[in-house]
């Protein structure tokens, strides 16, 4: 082996467990309040409350969740699942605590999530992102995702938003028997 990596020993990435629920909710709420401050009303963001119980339900329903930690603190997560479109995996979310952005957590989560979706046998992955979330769009574009044709409208907290679709090829489209839950 050529060399061993010498990265921060306290930065890790792992599958989430149900005991991470509180931290996952905290990260999502914090990230939303920053990322969407120009998109959703302040009153909506201030009242945002992601129930901890939702995470166990998501995981039971087949949603994979990866967490990125720093100094033993969960500072970001990604979630993924089968998309509504047959044959597509979906990156459902990547959120990083605003206090820990710019440290590579998002990139690590994205790469690991692509690998996890690839492992599940999908040839391609898609995601939906609010069209006005330009920083997120640049993030994905810089990492090989391209804008797809479809878009959709949603009402989130009383605000009409347009979601645009990004797509990426997962290269192998691995075909194999069902694997264990990625968690």
């Amino acid at each position: 082996m050529r060399t061993m990596s010498s990265q921060n020993p306290k930065v890790t990435l792992r599958p989430a467990t149900e005991s991470d629920a509180a931290a996952l909710s905290r990260v999502q709420e914090a990230a939303w309040k920053t990322a969407y401050s120009d998109i959703f009303p302040r009153s909506f963001l201030d009242a945002l409350n992601v129930p901890e119980s939702r995470w166990a339900q998501r995981m039971s329903a087949g949603v994979g969740v990866l967490v990125s930690t720093e100094q033993d603190r969960i500072v970001g997560y990604s979630s993924y699942a089968a998309a509504d479109d047959p044959g597509w995996g979906e990156l459902r979310a990547i959120y990083v605590d605003p206090d820990f952005q710019g440290r590579g957590h998002g990139s690590r989560l994205l790469e690991a999530t692509e690998a996890a979706i690839d492992y599940q046998g999908y040839e391609s992955a898609l995601l939906w992102v609010i069209d006005r979330n330009t920083s997120a769009r640049h993030f994905y574009e810089n990492r090989g995702w391209s804008l797809g044709a479809p878009f959709r409208l949603e009402d989130i907290g009383g605000t009409q938003v347009t979601l645009v679709r990004y797509e990426t090829g997962l290269r192998s489209g691995n075909e194999q028997s069902p694997g264990p839950p990625d968690r």
């Binding site: 082996m1 061993m4 690998a115 939906w128």
Partner: protein, 174 residues
């Protein structure tokens, strides 16, 4: 330099489509440890995952990050257990490594209190592992069905709908 040399010695050549692999425990806190796992892939691979097994533990599949060239790795948190590890490279031709323990990969556990997994179940061949995945998948599906049944269909549908709305804007501000 000395540490690097030691790590070189403690890595193991897996063969069968994989090069050298290693595991290094960075820290231990209570029942969890921070560990780095790395593996070389001889042929080009699109993705590499590590499957970890231990008696009485849920099997874990952890995606590895590409660290340049043919090297993939991850720094992750695990329970302080000498897991058995099977690497799987995903590409045009998927390959799985032989099962190897973290100790064999060079992980040095603190003395005492470490569960070991010296061997896989007898006959745990690649084919058997495939059936094992299938069994795990079916078990997970059964649990999901049970969970849906316990939660009640309507409540679950509502949750999926609300989750889809709240989670779909996959924004990141890295």
């Amino acid at each position: 330099m000395l540490r690097a040399s030691l790590l070189l010695v403690l890595s193991v050549n897996l063969g069968g489509g994989f090069g050298e692999a290693s595991a290094t425990i960075n820290s231990v806190a209570g029942e969890s440890m921070t560990i780095s796992i790395e593996v070389e892939v001889e042929d080009s691979a699109d993705s590499v995952v590590a499957h970890l097994f231990a008696p009485g533990e849920q099997a874990l599949t952890i995606p590895l990050l590409h660290r340049g060239g043919d090297l993939f790795g991850i720094q992750t948190e695990l329970r302080v257990i000498d897991y058995q590890v099977v690497f799987e490279a995903i590409g045009d031709v998927g390959v799985e490594s032989a099962s190897v323990s973290l100790t064999a990969l060079g992980a040095e556990f603190p003395s005492g209190g470490v569960a070991t997994t010296t061997t896989e179940p007898d006959g745990f061949s690649s084919e058997a592992r495939g059936w094992g995945w299938l069994a795990l998948g079916l078990a997970a599906a059964s649990l999901s069905v049970l969970a849906i049944w316990v939660l009640g269909g309507k409540d679950n549908e509502d949750d999926v709908e609300s989750e889809s709305q709240s989670d779909s804007p996959a924004g990141d501000r890295v």
